[in-house]
């Protein structure tokens, strides 16, 4: 008995076999319910605990998870998924088609934040225990791509614990407890303090990590997070403040892992407004309704300089609403308007604003990396071509209500496509707003182009990849010609880890624990 114990403790102590891993993120996942809140901190964390029919690999490509394969049904009437056999939940329940049907009902219910993912779905049919048909009202080629975060919950467990539906406002059993099929199970959950994970012994996949226990602590103060990493109290922090990245990179005990996030930062305009709201003199006209003025803005903003100084060389310029890592990116249209203040002045003169004008620029100050500093730089650059921005920066909780109330003449927006597809920003940012069809819900300025509206449903239902890409390219071209937005750069991802940690950083900023090895 004692010998066995000693043997076990030797094994535990050997670093190659087993490690405890601690990491810190700014935001604690607000719930453990995979269908209650559609936000990156929640879905990113729960990707370690729950699994979907499909999942994203290290390169963001879709790969089999709880489904071993899928194929279109007939002429695009839906998709047939073949389920993996022998999968068990953390509680020991077997996974089968009933759980898929249940998870569809749960995740598509009005009480669920994930409901919009299932807008194209008309019905989910159990064919047999390990085959499920998901029927769509129109052909939907990217459907498997859009459900990587749709996580499977055991129907018996959910019903026995009174959590057949999520309850976002009051919480219920699944808010604090989990029962997934993923590589890790939650063994302790103290909201806002710590969440402990341990490997799921019955996981269907082959574990490549060497973690025996992992603990997530939210640390909101960036200086505290950096100190925690440097003192060795945590193994990973996300994010590293941009200004500390160079200092950490110079330290042998830690390393900085940098990548490009999916989020494109852009400037938006009031396309529909009749007049500027915050101008000192131009109170009866809206210069930004003129595409030449918008183009002048695009040419007046020196994006490389912003990236060099404010982002300290950690970000990539953007030419369109999605980054090159996304599916459907228009590679042929990857040039952004060159920085050319003289051309910008000429365009302004052509539009009748040779003397410039003043306007209000709204900007969040705690939403994107160095957002306020970027807006200040933009303000300075626009002043050089004669248009004077009055900058009003505010916390994001005040920002969205201002944008919804149309209280801006120009605004800053970041967009990360949830489906990792170029169709996503067209639906939310470029379509004419239409509450009934759920289109353009983040198109604050009301940009509207008949051809874009016409192309969107065609893109959504086109099965042929090259035809689809041609249409996406056409939309990108229109948005660039019209300067609907001024995409500036793709936001960087900066993580800091101890130098003995090997991990993979995914562009969606999800931290996947099963890809971690502690040496």
């Amino acid at each position: 008995m004692i010998r066995a114990f000693l043997l076990a403790s030797t094994v535990l102590a050997a670093p190659a076999f087993a490690e405890e891993f601690r990491w810190a993120e700014t935001t604690d996942p607000q719930t453990m319910d995979p269908h209650a809140v559609n936000s990156a901190p929640v879905l990113g964390f729960l990707n370690n605990v729950y699994e979907g029919l499909v999942r994203r690999g290290k390169d963001m490509a879709i790969e089999p998870a709880l489904a071993t394969g899928w194929e279109p049904i007939g002429d695009g009437e839906g998709w047939r998924f073949t389920l993996r056999q022998g999968v068990t939940f953390h509680g020991g329940e077997a996974f089968n088609a009933d759980d898929v049907v249940f998870s569809y009902q749960r995740a598509s219910d009005e009480a669920s934040d994930t409901r919009s993912w299932f807008a194209p779905v008309s019905e989910v049919v159990k064919v047999d225990d390990y085959t499920v048909d998901i029927m769509t009202s129109a052909p939907n080629p990217i459907f498997p791509d859009s459900i990587a975060n749709w996580m499977m919950m055991d129907s018996g467990w959910a019903e026995a614990n009174g959590t057949a539906l999520p309850d976002k406002e009051n919480g219920n059993y699944a808010t604090l407890n989990t029962n997934g099929t993923g590589a890790f199970m939650v063994t302790a959950r103290e909201p806002g303090l710590r969440t402990v994970l341990e490997p799921h012994a019955g996981w269907w996949g082959e574990a490549t990590h060497n973690i025996t226990r992992a603990e997530l602590t939210p640390i909101q103060n960036p200086a505290t997070a950096v100190a925690a990493l440097l003192s060795g109290d945590v193994d990973l922090i996300n994010p590293v403040p941009i200004q500390d990245a160079a200092r950490l990179a110079g330290n042998d005990a830690v390393k900085v892992i940098q990548g490009i996030e999916a989020r494109v930062i852009m400037l938006g305009f009031p396309h529909e407004a009749d007049a500027l709201k915050y101008s000192a003199e131009t109170t009866d006209a809206n210069p930004f309704a003129d595409a030449r003025v918008r183009r002048a803005v695009a040419q007046a903003v020196n994006v490389p300089a912003i990236l060099q100084t404010i982002m300290r060389g950690n970000a990539e310029p953007a030419s369109q609403l999605v980054s090159p890592a996304m599916r459907g990116y228009s590679a042929a249209l990857s040039d952004r308007p060159a920085y050319d203040p003289d051309a910008a002045k000429a365009l302004l003169a052509e539009a009748g604003y040779a003397d410039g004008f003043s306007f209000g620029l709204k900007c969040p100050n705690d939403r994107y990396l160095n957002d306020e500093a970027v807006c200040q730089a933009v303000t300075g650059m626009l002043a050089q071509v004669g248009i004077t921005a009055v900058l009003d920066a505010m916390p994001v909780q005040n920002y969205w209500p201002e944008l919804r109330a149309d209280n801006y003449d120009m605004y800053l927006l970041g967009w990360s496509p949830g489906t990792f597809d170029a169709e996503h920003p067209i639906r939310f940012l470029a379509s004419t707003p239409n509450a009934e069809k759920k289109l353009g819900s983040w198109n604050f300025g009301g940009f509207s182009n008949a051809r874009v509206d016409e192309l969107l449903p065609m893109i959504q239902s086109e099965i042929d990849d090259s035809k689809r890409q041609a249409m996406l390219d056409e939309v990108t071209g229109i948005l660039q010609d019209e300067v609907a937005y001024v995409p500036m750069y793709v936001q960087p991802l900066v993580w800091g880890a101890k130098s003995n940690v090997d991990l993979t950083q995914r562009p969606d900023n999800f931290f996947i624990l099963r890809w971690v090895t502690v040496n």
């Binding site: 559609n38 976002k168 808010t175 505290t224 440097l230 003192s231 005040n398 819900s441």
Partner: protein
């Protein structure tokens, strides 16, 4: 007597109600919680629906009335962020703050009085002058900076103490304590110094000046003249008479230790109610903000009420005035 007590209690209750009203009128300016609660793919209809569910479409006076209605029944609502009853969360977080405040208060009083006496007795000594100059740091440096400096020195450079958190805790009933584990005690050191430093220097300076005052009194001279030993004069006679104002100030400072814990808790990621409040502001978690503000104002109003009532008990002049029948 009874009339005076009732009057003071009624005044305190009125103050609480006004504080609550002001707090609720301010919440609109903190921002809109809806965007945090709904994902990227929300629609305008979702926003409207949730606003009605949460009662945010009502004027703030109505929201305040509903909060009060629940609060008098001990129901502070459900946290927007965590989806759990606010009272559960507060009970869970309170031990961390109270333990931190207790240790900080103890450090501030014991070290503050000790150094105060020392600097008063040796008021021209080098040591006393060094301490007096150093105490300026305690009063002038912001808590945030002191915390970060301590972390960099003792956690990052020397590696002696943890940089954040509470270490391991032991649950005794509903109370989780960090006093019973080595890591819990180590984790208390830096935050309690950070939190208590200001009070420590304040008490030290107060004790010193009171002590210098007392040492000049005739009875001290007589005590010396009687040939009492220096230690007896300093501690038995001088210090005792110094302590009356010190106790008053310390009592009032206790409230601020708990209230100012917000900053220390943020720097050290200390899982107490202060950190909870900061996170609630960032998320516009109105039920948590409201409950915390009410709790803190109850505490301050309560302390003031007790002080008032104590004055009444101690000071006979107040009694004569009141019973004199104006």
């Amino acid at each position: 007597m009874l009339a005076y007590v009732i009057q003071r209690v009624a005044q305190s209750a009125l103050v609480l109600l006004v504080v609550g009203l002001v707090a609720f009128s301010m919440f609109r300016f903190v921002g809109d919680p809806i965007d945090n609660m709904l994902g990227q793919e929300r629609t305008q209809a979702d926003i409207e629906r949730l606003r009605v569910v949460l009662g945010l479409d009502q004027p703030f006076v109505v929201q305040y009335y509903k909060f009060l209605e629940g609060a008098v029944q001990g129901n502070f609502g459900v946290s927007y962020r965590q989806g759990r009853p606010v009272s559960d969360i507060l009970i869970e977080r309170a031990p961390a703050t109270l333990e931190l405040a207790a240790v900080s208060g103890f450090l501030a009083i014991s070290i503050g009085i000790g150094l105060g006496v020392f600097t008063a007795i040796r008021r021209n000594g080098i040591g006393a002058n060094v301490i007096m100059s150093a105490s300026l740091i305690g009063v002038s440096l912001p808590t945030f900076l002191i915390g970060i400096l301590l972390i960099y020195l003792f956690s990052v450079e020397l590696g002696w103490l943890p940089s954040f958190g509470r270490g391991e805790t032991v649950d005794i009933g509903a109370w989780s304590t960090g006093f019973l584990t080595a890591s819990g005690l180590k984790a208390l050191i830096l935050p309690s110094i950070t939190l208590g430093l200001y009070q420590m220097t304040l008490i030290m300076r107060l004790v010193r000046s009171e002590m210098l005052e007392v040492l000049r009194q005739d009875y001290i001279r007589f005590a010396r003249a009687r040939g009492l030993r220096e230690r007896a004069v300093n501690f038995r006679h001088a210090l005792k008479n110094t302590l009356v104002p010190v106790i008053t100030v310390t009592g009032l400072q206790l409230g601020s230790i708990i209230a100012f814990a917000i900053i220390t808790e943020t720097v050290f990621q200390w899982p107490g109610v202060g950190l909870l409040f900061i996170n609630a502001i960032q998320f516009v978690d109105i039920p948590v903000m409201a409950a915390y503000l009410m709790l803190i104002s109850v505490m301050f109003v309560g302390i003031n009420l007790i002080v008032d009532l104590l004055y009444f008990a101690i000071d006979p002049r107040l009694r004569v005035d009141r019973t004199g029948g104006h």
